[in-house]
Assembly symmetry: C2
Homo-oligomer: 326 residues x 2
Amino acid sequence: MAVYTQVSDDALAAYLDEYDLGKALSFKGIAEGVENSNYYLETTKGRYILTLFEKRVNADDLPYFIGLKQHLAAGGFPCPEPIMARDGKALRTLEGRPAVIVSFLDGLSPRSPNPAQCRGIGEGLARMHVALSDYDKTRENSLGPAAWPRLWKGQSEQADALHPGLSGLIDEALADIAEAKPQSLSLPRGTIHADLFPDNAFFLGDDFSGIIDFYFACTDALAYDLAICLNAWAFEDGDGRMAIDYNFSKGAALIAGYESVRPLQPAEREALPLLARGAALRFFLTRMVDWTTTPEGALVKPKNPLEYAGRLAFHRKVHTAEGYGA
Amino acid sequence: MAVYTQVSDDALAAYLDEYDLGKALSFKGIAEGVENSNYYLETTKGRYILTLFEKRVNADDLPYFIGLKQHLAAGGFPCPEPIMARDGKALRTLEGRPAVIVSFLDGLSPRSPNPAQCRGIGEGLARMHVALSDYDKTRENSLGPAAWPRLWKGQSEQADALHPGLSGLIDEALADIAEAKPQSLSLPRGTIHADLFPDNAFFLGDDFSGIIDFYFACTDALAYDLAICLNAWAFEDGDGRMAIDYNFSKGAALIAGYESVRPLQPAEREALPLLARGAALRFFLTRMVDWTTTPEGALVKPKNPLEYAGRLAFHRKVHTAEGYGA
């Protein structure tokens, strides 16, 4: 939830004048995304989302993200489509910040996805991978394994305070993954979403209706995106606790949905437990950093990292894709 | 900005089943109002706002607020119209909280109202007063003069810390108003909005398009509502400082707009400076309470009360309605 940048009446009017979108009928800050300011914008031409990019997003990456959405939309994949201004540019400046208007996407983000929705997101993810297979821009995963030791530095003590012995688990997992890393380098690569949590996916009932928020997208192993989804969609609500249950029907549905569009290669199936551990570790580490650096009572309450330590502990006991129901 | 209560998928679906609104197409938390949780809700039948009432609103008052909006909407006044469920009731329960669905109102809230918009809100306010003249429910103003000494208690020291000598100004103003109070008791009374700030008003360009957020509405002197608007619309942006300028073109436009629909009676004109002082004091006091009780870094940053002390100081030098440009 976040509306950081206020937009003045004159600035909005001048901004809209650059587009062929008619006049504004409604403009409301919405609680979508935590990195940027998002506004519901309705004009005489239709409904849109206006995004102002705050400092957490690197402005140099914006052409990559916007190009990615343009590529997807051009291929008919349901995602917010960047709207071009009269000069043919989608990326502009508003209130001193980079800003973009995108099309409005119907759908609701499930709070507790059911197995049918897990199957739907699996299919949607694979469709997205296929649609992006000829997207020619690349971006390094800035939160990949190379970044993890830096994120973990100095966190041991606070981790053990959250859960006794937790720092040992993380140290071991980091060492294991460093050792196994060469295995993942030979996997099929492409453009991945890298943050496909339920709040970044839309459904109408049980039917997948689109994906939003591509601001972690990067070039990496495609199966890593599936492993992130397994972590984000196929566990029971952990309520911030370490003890957390994997839901086999949801996980199996997710993988089956993915494979119905893009079957996994044997090497990808084999790497799935490793990738799932990596994904759990990545979200544990960034949540741990947020947890220890966010001041008490801050605007956005940080999520308890323990849930992801619990997932990591689960994945360390899984050794085959079948262990996830695949 | 506030989305406090999360709504689960099942709870939303069950709630919508009670209405004849079709299926949900979109559901997004919006940054509107600070007292309640508001969601943009789009269904196959249209666009709506779903509000969950949080603890700051007294549930016993809700029939008054909802009846008021029904009365206004029935009279063709532009405001959010409560939507009745199939059983004919508009006020229901969602996630354990009172909840209501209202119609979506087009329009934008001006951040810096111009004189044309000030005239528009004057007209709109008077139209609202006229439309509510036969609304038969009443509600006491819980933030009227009787409440002010209680709000002020124990604040002197912190007020002087904000601005040297401020507590003396407030003490004097409270005493003056207590003395002058009988004058205001004989003024025409009716249903007032009591919180008609620019963020509670909508415009399409310079044209008034509606009023929202009636959760401070009560039975009081009609001209007090105009005095609140003078405070909220006709001063230059104070940026939290005590030094603040009254804008005569905006104030004059506001009063002229009001009088074009409902001319003020001589007693109301005469009482305007007193009512304006009262309004400045009321918002100073509630902001002062929020200022001193809100923890650092809290979800909603409190507004600096000094701006309203500055308005109060201005009003104390005005002795006739002409002093406001009327």
